[in-house]
């Protein structure tokens, strides 16, 4: 039996709109059971990657396997296993909330009405309300409810917390964590909020200029990056295996955020552990593709 271990597996994936590449040379794998964050500036290709994974956008080059199947497989089997929340939260605005749940139920054999009603009840969203009369945040929650109540094996969430107030955002993150804990689903979410990434994700994919520049376990990413500081007067060369990502020079010293190979000992350098935000920001500033990190980190 062919055992599936990756929820998403992209090989040379690219998507071009006319002459412009929205996503290019994307090769990555996101293991099952992870909560993975897609991070990158606007236009980096996050939504395109999720759209291809959801079967909404056909790739121009390469392929993407979703739960072991081709993402462009239009059969109902794969769609049943994948939940997708679009960035624009399209929903039937003339429907009542109750009718949206009915739509979800009639469209998904695995629909769990308890989850749907429970989620909306916690958020005090009335079932008889018309969707068009709800606030933007409430509409986003209704769209998310449709996604979650389907109980998919893979959740693709395009900026799920974008329109939510801080309380709703917190609720959403808790909900996602509970969902993963209870069902073992894989979650891939795109976000600009790096705080959320540290809080709930265990895998990070950084996209810049339509390319993947980092994709790995967050623990490994944290362990394999360090701030290295040295006095300016000391003309010290970087040790072998260290790849500088970002450098800051003050009057007295130079600080480099670098990818290192463990174990790392070098008395000439002061070593400090960066936060995930600092690492991600360094990659985004750098913007160029880099040598893939040690695959061991993903295991």
């Amino acid at each position: 039996m062919n055992e599936v271990s990756n929820a998403l597996e992209a090989t040379g994936l690219g998507r071009r709109y006319r002459q412009k590449w929205a996503l290019r040379d994307c090769t990555l794998s996101i293991p099952e059971g992870r909560v993975a964050a897609l991070v990158g500036p606007n236009g980096a290709g996050k939504s395109t990657l999720l759209g291809v994974a959801a079967g909404l956008i056909p790739p121009s080059t390469g392929s993407l396997k979703v739960l072991g199947e081709d993402s462009q497989n239009q059969k109902a089997g794969l769609r049943r296993r994948v939940g997708y929340l679009d960035q624009q939260r399209p929903t039937y605005s003339s429907f009542r909330v109750e009718e949206i749940l009915h739509f979800g139920k009639s469209s998904n054999p695995s629909w769990n009405m308890e989850i749907a009603r429970g989620h909306l009840s916690r958020l005090n969203i009335p079932l008889e309300a018309r969707v068009s009369n709800l606030s933007g945040g409430q509409q986003a929650q209704v769209a998310l409810t449709v996604c979650l109540a389907k109980e998919p094996e893979l959740l693709l969430l395009d900026e799920p917390a974008a329109e939510l107030d801080p309380v709703a955002r917190e609720d959403l993150l808790r909900l996602l964590m509970r969902q993963v804990a209870e069902s073992g689903s894989t979650v891939v979410l795109s976000t600009h909020a790096l705080n959320d990434v540290s809080a709930i994700c265990d895998y990070v994919v950084v996209l810049a200029r339509s390319r993947v520049v980092l994709a790995n376990d967050i623990d490994f990413v944290l362990e394999s990056h360090r701030f290295l500081s040295t006095k300016l007067s000391e003309n010290v060369e970087l040790p072998p295996g260290v790849v500088p990502l970002d450098a800051q020079r003050s009057a007295r010293e130079t600080t480099i955020l670098a990818r290192i190979e463990l174990p790392f000992f070098d008395s000439r350098w002061d070593i400090e552990q960066p936060t995930l935000e600092e690492i991600v920001m360094a990659y985004l500033r750098q913007g160029a593709p880099s040598r893939p990190l040690d695959d061991e980190g993903a295991k």
């Binding site: 759209g51 959801a54 079967g55 909404l56 956008i57 056909p58 239009q74 059969k75 109902a76 769609r79 049943r80 994948v82 939940g83 997708y84 679009d86 624009q88 399209p90 929903t91 039937y92 003339s94 429907f95 009718e99 009915h102 739509f103 979800g104 009639s106 469209s107 998904n108 054999p109 695995s110 769209a143 449709v146 389907k150």
Partner: protein, 340 residues
């Protein structure tokens, strides 16, 4: 999916039903009213103004005026009936599919457990059911109205679309055209306009370009009696195409013709005949008889008999159905590959 497709179209279907019921109500009133007037006019003493006794002539000509006045809007009613088909079909197509593509709710529905093909099939099923529900009674009622109001021969072009089931197919063709175009154009307004024009062109092309090729016209010899008494001249024609047929014109043909002459043949002989009438001998009182005898020609009327009505309805209906199937297949292929 079927529930969702119906829920989306519910208010549109209700609004259309209200319009259709109002139209049917007016047809009912107009049909009964005109039927009653015609019955009165065709009965004694007027008997359709044939051999009316002198003392009733004023009454009968007044009644004829009333009959004609009551039918003043008949052409308008027929046009409304014909326009409602493609109009409703286009509205249903835009509201069910194009608007969903435009508002990108396809990104919601295409990521549920059903396939895109199932989604499209549910749209077709629900909307065609709405069309049949609305236009089923409407085409039956228009057929009745056509007879009741003595509007015209059912096989004649003016009545043909409303006297059978073609109205239903106009609507289905417009619906499938708008659905298919909407998957390419993606904008509701443009799709509606282009779809309606497309449906109009198909219907127009069918009536003027295709239908005449589908019919098998027959002919009848129009007997003429020369008027030679008194100061008037000319001839009295009798016979001709039945009143319930689709008259396709006429012309001169050799005496004893057994097959329906072609238009070209009629034109050629008619030109000869009128050439003869333009001679000095032809200008005489007996010129008509002279030319007929000299050229051995007689006047024939070409017509499509009423008995061809259902055959023609089915043939034309099959073409519309074929167009609708072709468009549906295109939309099916498109929806499977299109970017959401």
């Amino acid at each position: 999916m079927i529930w969702t497709a119906w829920r989306q179209q519910r208010s549109v279907a209700v609004a259309m039903s209200v319009v259709a019921i109002a139209f049917l109500g007016y047809l009912l009133y107009s049909g009964f009213h005109q039927q009653a007037l015609w019955t009165q006019y065709l009965a004694r003493p007027c008997r359709g103004d044939l051999n009316t006794p002198v003392r009733y002539q004023t009454y009968c000509s007044g009644l004829l005026d009333t009959v004609q006045n009551s039918g003043h809007f008949n052409r308008f009613i027929v046009n409304v009936g014909i326009i409602l088909g493609p109009l409703f079909g286009s509205i249903l197509g835009v509201s069910s599919v194009t608007r969903e593509v435009e508002q990108r709710t396809t990104r919601l529905v295409w990521t549920q457990s059903g396939t895109r093909s199932q989604w499209l099939a549910s749209k077709y099923l629900v909307n065609i059911a709405i069309i049949v529900t609305i236009f089923g009674p409407m085409f039956l009622m228009l057929g009745w109205w056509n007879r009741a109001a003595h509007y015209g021969a059912r096989i004649a072009p003016s009545s043909f679309p409303i006297a059978g089931f073609l109205l239903l197919l106009y609507s289905i063709v417009a619906f499938t055209a708008v659905v298919t175009l909407g998957l390419f154009i993606r904008r509701a307004g443009w799709t509606f306009a282009v779809g309606l024009i497309f449906a109009g062109l198909v219907i127009f092309g069918m009536e003027f370009g295709v239908r005449p090729l589908l019919v098998s016209p027959t002919f009848v010899v129009v007997s003429s009696s020369e008027i030679t008494q008194g100061s008037t001249s000319g001839f009295y024609a009798s016979g001709g195409a039945p009143s319930n047929s689709w008259g396709r014109g006429g012309g001169y043909a050799p005496v004893g013709t057994t097959v329906t002459p072609s238009t070209q043949s009629l034109d050629a002989y008619s030109t000869k005949f009128y050439g003869c009438l333009n001679t000095p001998r032809g200008h005489e009182k007996t010129g008509y008889t002279y030319c007929s005898n000299r050229l051995n020609l007689e006047y024939v009327g070409i017509f499509v008999p009423d008995s061809e009505f259902w055959r023609l309805q089915f043939e034309e209906g099959s073409i519309y159905l074929g167009i609708a199937i072709l468009l549906s297949a295109t939309s099916y292929l498109r929806v499977r590959r299109m970017l959401a």
